[in-house]
Point group: D2
Chain length 297, copies 4
């Protein structure tokens, strides 16, 4: 039995979690197979270090994704891996003060060496130096990340593949990451100015240049909201799926049901929406496989 | 690509959610393919109405599950479906007072008719009447549910299949369900006594009669804890997976990590444990398919 | 500023969490001050070891609570403390296999000695021996717990205080606890039969014998559902508050909004309902203080 | 009984939720009473519309908070209220398409009129026009928000009070909000450039200019991480409390335990940390009252 068959059977349950999963697979299949769609994906939480680097890079490479909005952390991790660093398997019960002394930093059960972060800084400086100053003094994050993608040369890198395929990666919270710290320290001695207005203009332009917009929302945070708000000028996205463990009751945007965004004009209708309550790093590869099977059949 | 291939790739990530999902698939595959294992499954939350009736019935029919511990609600829903009633698709935003007036009861976005619940009562009385009084006056829940299974005649019913395969269904909280109300009202005018000691003796006996015990925990609640505590006499289960959205921080048994049960002697070692944070009705069919593919290869 | 003043200001926000907290305080104040109410409290999760032993015992002593439905674990912990055992402060990152070897069992960051559990067994046997066999062979859990309460002699014990005040403690899942294991082993060599029908009859009788029923729901699980379902014969409870971290989307009873119970006839109207998303061991003492201040003013 | 007395009793429980709440109250009391501390608060989720506007404004007015990092949404709501708009009480079950047609937008059970959002745009343009172009063409968000605070004239406004008290409000994700849309459209026809480097320099400078740093983290998201990462240059914050409903298992920064930040050098030691699992709009006012009582006693 193929996973798309299970997804279909799940949608046939029509209620509760299975219906939400099945519907999400079908909607994603439609986004991937219908050429009218430009698809934007938001990445929050440890999407890249959590094993989805290949999945998302492949989707970009196959031109199934047309724009990415991500936290700075996911960009940082893509660069770390492109520079040859691998995360280390740890545990969520390790002593953090000891880890610190041993030069290790922790993300739940995953460890990163301080050494790799120092190497990243050097690489970022080196790459920034190669960007002409005229460009550097008024640059969007998507332009900056394309420059890095050009220089990094790792076929499995999201930055490299996105650059190759001219898919912009927007990073509205870039300063809130290790990469962001490097940009800031560099800017203290060199000409560098990130212009977030240019990012937003580019993102809005993309939403206008397509018949339909599909939103694929992994986790919550600013990336989720940013994809949706950028579509409010065109009357909202046409289809959206989200995978999140965040709760709605607190009223934060991260856990908000997609339906809420209809009242803000960020989503058009209720017809093509699905929320899967779950961990995006578990659910998204499964949904993607089901959707690609459906799209190809 | 088969789902067992994805599960394998996920385990290779070695951290975060994907590792937990991949490991759970592998452990479940081991439980299903290694004849040393007797497997006990716990059902809490709307497992039967949430679309897993077929999945679990099939596993019982193939002798991959040797004992079931469930809430009364899941038994009630299996019986409702065996009696020909189907749930109705609703929505979580419906007005409950209006539903009440229209004879409908709600479980999130799923509706049940009051009519079907009345029919259940009649059927339960009819079936109880057919059980000899000598048996009825000191009966375990597993014996009672086998009696019902014998009388219900629905091939897709968990109760019928479990009876056919001599797999006991334990229902330690049977009184806390629509079925339980029927048992109680019946007992007011007829001889009926449920003896929970007999259930526990049977369950403990089963855990002794096998080389290895595997625990498959869907949701939390009393069913989860009951499977584990019954194994404390034999030194704990040998392998366990759990799928739950409950949190650990409050200290309740539902959200507790499996590791905690090691300190109580309910689980033997940390080697064969996996917790997937997610909705059991979404995750379990996927894990099962992956495990069966692995078990058969 | 008094906590009841803050609760009032919170209700004045009228939306989101503060409104839910403020409304819960007001409803609880009404339950405590209006003599028409009989109040039933459900205890799931580590309510007793989590510091609410005194709070709940005081409410029982002041006759503000008329019935208790609890997990076996909370009864077990009340008995452990009555027998002089204290929990030990641990941590959620301790190694459970090491704890096991050192004779310690863990509940999140709280430790219990195996020694105290062995002492509990002896005490339970001793207390059971003192109950006349004629009574023992057909006993409800509330009767059994009153017998224990009579023998335990600890003023701060919930069991003792409940017995003194003739407040029944119902334990529909008693077998699913350390105490339950002791009852079962005792029953293998001695006459002992727990009759859950008697418990349910008593509980239903209590719900009929009062003008209004208030339900105070701490955590989810069987205790939550049991309080509600027992009130379905009288047309539902008149007021209810619940404090839980469980989620609604999975469709389980633990995380279900109170409104859902209206469609089942377990709650009368939407007027006197409040759900606080939070940890009951944190929220309930604060709500209680606010409610008592309001009730007394 | 005062709330600080309850908090003290809770800390004496030493385990589970009560200990976390009690410890948080004590740590917050220390931050408020010890002059060595500069305190930074992060605001994610509907903190301002959720009723904490007065609480936080009062803390700023009393100079107990020295820096704020917030989402754009909270700034937007403070401005809406300063302009005389009030949110409307709705419900989480309303039909969002209907709301849209009626000119209403929804945040869980809270409604905002489209009219008020249009008025905000006009007010933002008007206020921007009054800022000298020389300043506007290279402005930090904290400078911009001080300019707005100067012009808004609402004593209860966080922006006004922060400006009056020279407390900077950093808004690293300002573009991801209604206010951000207004800034972007304005920039299409007028000179306006937000320079996020200036914000980060100011924030880092503040962390250096104090003996001790206290971090008060309400909700997760970029604001949480931003306060912590800005302190990594000085070796981490000295004390931190967080209140969140986000989960740790997914590995995202929002739900991460504070201890994890020690391994990144963003927090100094484990001694002065407390995480309360709960809704910040409920827990923070209670903690604040307890902390102020302690600080003043």
């Amino acid at each position: 039995m193929r996973i798309s068959d299970i997804a279909e059977q799940m949608e046939a349950v029509k209620v509760l979690g299975p219906a939400r999963f099945g519907r999400a697979a079908r909607i994603l299949g439609e986004m991937f197979s219908n050429d009218d769609y430009s698809n934007f994906i938001s990445l929050a939480g440890p999407i890249i270090p959590g094993g989805l680097r290949t999945v998302i890079t492949d989707l970009v490479d196959e031109k199934l994704i047309d724009g990415i909005v991500t936290t700075g952390a996911n960009v940082t991790h893509d660069m770390l891996e492109a520079l040859g660093h691998k995360h280390i398997v740890g545990s969520e019960t390790l002593d953090d003060a000891k880890l610190r002394r041993r030069g290790l930093s922790r993300i739940y059960d995953l460890l990163v060496t301080q050494k790799s972060i120092e190497n990243l800084e050097k690489a970022v400086y080196r790459m920034l130096n190669k960007i002409p100053e005229s460009k550097r003094q008024n640059i969007a994050t998507y332009e900056l990340l394309w420059e890095f993608g050009k220089q990094l040369r790792d076929k499995r890198s999201l930055l490299c593949t996105a650059q190759k395929r001219s898919v912009p990666i927007f990073c509205p919270g870039v300063f809130d990451s290790m990469l962001g710290l490097n940009l800031w320290t560099y800017s203290q001695l060199n000409r560098l100015l990130i212009n977030p207005f240019k990012d937003f203009s580019k993102l809005v332009d993309l939403t206008y240049a397509t018949k339909k917009v599909g939103a694929i929302i992994l986790g919550g945070g600013m990336p989720k909201h940013h994809v949706l708000i950028a579509n409010s000028y065109r009357g909202g996205v046409d289809a959206a799926i989200q995978i999140t463990l965040d709760r709605p009751e607190g009223g934060g945007a991260s856990g908000a049901p997609l339906e809420e965004a209809i009242s803000w004009g960020k989503i058009k209708t209720q017809k093509m929406l699905a929320t899967v309550v779950g961990d995006a790093t578990v659910i998204f590869p499964l949904l993607t496989l089901a959707a690609l099977e459906e799209a190809r059949s």
